[in-house]
Amino acid sequence: FTGLADVSISEDIPVEGEITVPVGSRSPDEDFSTLDEPVRDTIMRDLKAVGKKFVHVMYPKKSSALLRDWDLWGPLVLCVSLALMLQGGSADSKEDGGPQFAEVFVIIWFGAVVITLNSKLLGGTISFFQSLCVLGYCVLPLTVAMLVCRLVLLAGSGTISFIIRLIVVVAMFGWSTLASTAFLADSQPPNRKALVVYPIFLFYFVISWMILTFTPQ
């Protein structure tokens, strides 16, 4: 049944193909078969799943792959790389510097948890970890923006570079918010969509602000 993992249903989200697949009898078979396979295969399978989700984020259509097979590897990798890239900024004194690694980490995860709780309290039908997965994966455009900002800052830090960085960060912020809204808004009652989208907007705004105000040593 490995072929079923590649099926991505585009339009009908509620109709899935798993009704005929007995989940109970599938896992012991999988365990037996994956125990014997080489480690490289296991790692490559996980990496491919993560990579596929990255592609889904960059081109957000109504696919349910992100929601169905959630995992938190991608968000972890993105969060760590973003926090590492935000590290180099400092200022006159140690206290007035940019965010530390732990601060970025805590902001991203704590923010994602709070938004998930908020959407669940408002009556959303999405599960806790699915929502964390989507919010974490949609940080990808902002990580790309951070990379671009650091490269631009290598070239110089004048007004032109600031304008370029501003445009890039704003564009990626919009992309992140739209991508996560496309995945999450469907699971909310229709008269509360804006109430759920606003905290997501705030969350990515905070991250974008941190990226935009990054000044290297």
């Binding site: 006159d92 007035d96 965010p99 309290l121 905070v206």
Partner: protein
């Protein structure tokens, strides 16, 4: 306790208060046993419970269940927008609690308005710092990220502890028959009233304080009036003074960076967070006297 067959609007408040007083006392009704043991993580079984909740049957769940907190988020987008609009337009005729809340106080508004406010304060402080240091020849922008944590602490402490004090005061005086608001309604009013601070940032800080203070004064005036004019005036004055203190504290801490050094914000770290808490006694001359001394450039 009211008769189980009667569903009046007051029932929810009494039940909620009784429940918070005695956490293990749940009203025994059919089918309740399965509901109360749901853990906080949402399982698919929660959906049927929430639909019953949203149908208007306010069954008091225990505070350890998820549904208890879900009752505080039972608002639509339109309702939230209306409440925000009502909180920035203080009309003496419309009491915010009776007109807008109507026995459905929510925590969505206060929580996210406080978050927005903390963010707006930190960003405005950053921007003012930026414009101030831009003129200096050795210009280096430092993000001052710790402003965000300080702003968040200040705003959230204010939005929760001051309503607690006010609610306690009103409950203590309840023997006069005024009919106090519940704690949740108090928090709700405070939260929505803070929305007046958000768009104005540092330019109109004083005007925003006046606006939200007048909304609060108008809301709580009928309750305090029952105690006699002196107490009522003292209560309203305390509310207004605390609001002014919040405004002044924010302005002094975030927007007046001394040009000499960076470490200057660090010594007053404990002060703004506890400023609103310590000054229960209204220090009117001190608070209002320092407002005109703010820099005219801002």
């Amino acid at each position: 306790m009211a008769a189980p067959g009667e569903l009046r609007f007051q029932e929810f408040e009494e039940a909620a208060e009784l429940l918070s007083a005695t956490p293990n006392a749940t009203t025994p009704r059919a089918g309740d046993a399965a509901v109360d043991v749901d853990p906080e993580e949402g399982k698919p079984g929660d959906d049927t419970d929430t639909t019953e909740l949203l149908a208007g049957q306010r069954r008091p769940h225990g505070f350890w269940t998820f549904e208890y907190y879900q009752a505080f988020f039972d608002v639509d987008t339109q309702q939230v927008l209306e409440r925000i609009k009502g909180s920035v337009t203080p009309l003496p005729g419309k009491n915010f609690v009776r007109h807008h809340l109507r026995n459905n106080p929510d925590l969505y508004g206060p929580f996210w308005i406080c978050a927005t406010l903390a963010l707006a304060l930190a960003i405005s402080g950053n921007l003012s710092h930026l414009t101030e240091k831009r003129a200096a020849p050795a210009y280096r922008y430092s993000p001052q990220f710790h402003n965000v944590t300080i702003a968040a602490t200040l705003v959230y402490c204010y939005a929760w502890l001051v309503p607690l004090g006010l609610w306690g005061l009103l409950r203590w005086r309840q023997s006069h028959g005024a009919g106090a608001f519940t704690f949740l309604q108090t928090v709700c009013v405070y939260g929505y009233s803070l929305s007046a601070y958000v768009p104005t940032a540092w330019l109109l800080l004083a005007l925003a304080a006046l606006l939200s203070a007048s909304v609060l004064a108008i809301t709580f005036w009928p309750l305090l009036r029952a105690d006699g004019r002196a107490t009522a005036l003292a209560g309203v004055a305390a509310v207004v003074a605390l609001h002014a203190l919040l405004a002044v504290g924010c302005k002094l801490y975030f927007f007046q960076q001394p040009p000499s050094a960076g470490p200057a914000p660090s010594p007053p770290h404990p002060a703004p967070g506890t400023e609103g808490l310590r000054s229960r006694a209204p220090q009117l001359p001190g608070a209002n006297g320092s407002l005109p001394s703010a820099r005219p450039a801002r």
